[in-house]
């Protein structure tokens, strides 16, 4: 019984972490055209109770894209300005992975719930 409750908690922590990861991904996508924006990189770690949580968010320090647009307010004398280093393909792939893991966690959460319920059915009759 306590194991079933533990697996409910573990799955809930997993869903929470994946949802936060998806939020960072959508922030990256929203800022794809923001000049000087560095994309956020999320990674996971396990905390003291064995629950999943997000590690500290890092900024991707790779080079910003150099865009040629002489009419842009931020353009330098050569007509270039620094865009963001967000790659939409990477973000979409990351979002897909977060969604897939979220659904797997949800499935196991539902199963723990159903198994707890069938255990309760035993004493209800």
């Amino acid at each position: 019984m306590s194991d079933l409750l533990k697996s409910l908690g573990v799955s809930a922590a997993g869903m929470q972490a994946q949802a936060t990861r998806l939020r960072h991904v959508s922030e990256n996508i929203a800022n794809v055209d923001t000049p000087g924006y560095h994309r956020k990189v999320t990674s996971f770690k396990v905390d003291g109770d064995g629950l999943l949580e997000l590690a500290k968010v890092r900024l991707d320090r790779s080079d910003l894209e150099n865009i040629y647009d002489p009419g842009h307010p931020l353009a330098d004398e050569t007509g270039h300005y620094a865009g963001s280093n967000v790659d939409l393909i990477i973000e979409i792939a990351d979002a897909r992975e977060a969604q897939r893991s979220y659904e797997a966690n949800l499935k196991l959460f539902d199963q723990s719930r159903q198994m707890t319920q069938s255990l309760f059915e035993l004493i209800r009759r």
């Binding site: 194991d3 573990v10 799955s11 972490a17 396990v46 897939r100 893991s101 196991l108 199963q111």
Partner: protein, 128 residues
């Protein structure tokens, strides 16, 4: 409730084993994207049950001391498949398949327990 009956004892063992195994599977799935995480699983029920059913000391006097019963049914072992580049070897489809197996075992244990208790109720002259 009926620990002395071998049948219900085994059914209870299978139910608690299923719960413990589901907790480990949930942990694996939650860590499906954690770098360097290795998938775990419990050994099969036959060997786990052998460990549970071994002889244990009985306190026949109040001043007898007993060793504390182990908290978990068995120690988890590594069970991963092929490893991803980030050192993680959890396969979600394999874990979902295992969770279905756990679900079936749990239902079976509860069904055995339910029918045993209804036989006992019938023998006591109560309906159901």
């Amino acid at each position: 409730m009926f620990e002395k009956l071998g049948l219900t004892k085994m059914a209870q063992g299978l139910a608690s084993y299923s719960g413990a195994r589901l907790a480990i599977i949930a942990e694996n799935v939650a860590n499906a994207d954690t770098p360097r995480y290795r998938a775990k699983d419990l050994p099969d029920f036959a060997s786990a049950y052998d460990g549970m059913a071994s002889f244990s000391a009985r306190a026949t006097r109040p001043d007898h001391l007993l060793a504390p019963t182990p908290a978990s049914v068995a120690e988890p072992v590594l069970s991963g498949g092929s490893m991803a580049p980030n050192g993680n070897d959890v396969s979600i489809d394999l874990q979902i398949m295992k969770s279905v197996e756990v679900r079936q075992n749990h239902e079976m244990a509860l069904a055995v327990y339910r029918s045993t208790s209804s036989i006992l109720r019938t023998s006591l002259g109560r309906s159901g």
